[in-house]
Amino acid sequence: MAERTGHRGYIGARPLNGSRTPQHVQNIVIRDYARRKNLQYLLSAAEHTMPGSYMVLEDILDELPQLLGLILYSIFMLPPDEARRREIYDRVLREGCDLHAAVEEITLASRKDIQTIEDILLVNKYATIL
């Protein structure tokens, strides 16, 4: 098997929670996160702007056998469908990789980390920050 290298960045062109962050700023946040966590940052892939497209994320998941993991700009870039998210967690862990979210400073490295992420996503879905 080829040697695994680094963590692939994942940024997007769609607003998150109604806010927009320029793509170069998303990359700065990911790069800074990788530096602070001693992760080797690999150039980010940008998700399509079409709502509901996760093609670029799927490409990164296909790439996992060559990676140590991936760094999302935000946990809110994950698909809104819980079953689809759980498939993603399973693939990441099955490949021996980890998943990071730079803005929230969250790491998913084992099954016990899943609930933390799901709690944030679910609360965000129902609660409103004034």
């Binding site: 320029p22 793509q23 702007t49 093609m55 670029v56 490409d59 296909d62």
Partner: protein, 268 residues
Amino acid sequence: MTDTDFLQADEQALAQRFIDDGFVTTPSDDRAGLDRIQRRAAELAADYLKLPHSNDPYAMLDTIHTRVGVGDLNGLRLHVFNGLNAEPWFRPTYFRLARSTIETIVGNELCMQRRVNLSIQMPGDDSSLLATHSDVWSGDSPFEVVVWVPLVDVHRTKAMYLLPPSVNGEMQDRMAELRSAEELYRTIKPHATFIEIPYGHVMLFNQTLMHGNRVNEEPGTRWSMNCRFKSIMSPYADKRFGEFFEPILLRPATRVGMQYKLPGGFHG
């Protein structure tokens, strides 16, 4: 389209080629400027690799894979990218390489991407590929064009591929059924064209069309630059004015218009 007497015959022909094929290639308007960029890129590469400057910048770039490994490729790329973009003459020169074509296809009040991108594709390297995409899918405006300039001759897999306008829409309509960009490439592969561009020529292409590149199976390394231009008053998408684009040509009538205020003080 362009059935207008307001354009000259050569402009009409160029515009029609762009519409029909999705791209145009032409000899650079400023060959000396292109040679200067090529020479500076080779010097920066030599500096990074701690080698003497070469008298043959083309050969230096084309054979760079004999001097650098894949692991150090991005470091080299960033060094040359930052070095070129730091040169005050670089972006104006880049614009001049294709000025007449840009003005025919886009217009003459323009904004330009703030940093000109650089790609290096060494033979057999799969570490820096661009999957099938349209720039619009990642936040570019459909009103933009890309000026793509190779620093060496490119052909077959050493070049980039583009899907012709005649099939792009049909393929795009099938896209939501596909899972990944690789699957998308397999779908469009029979229709995609690798564009041959000799050094000294530039390409301007329609970035709403699907394009990308594959592993370079030719013996030489591809060096290419790309930069987006758009009409300054046309709609923007996620790549915003100010943060991604900056104005390079704004005409006096537009400046006057933007500053004009109608007389006030009426209370009728």
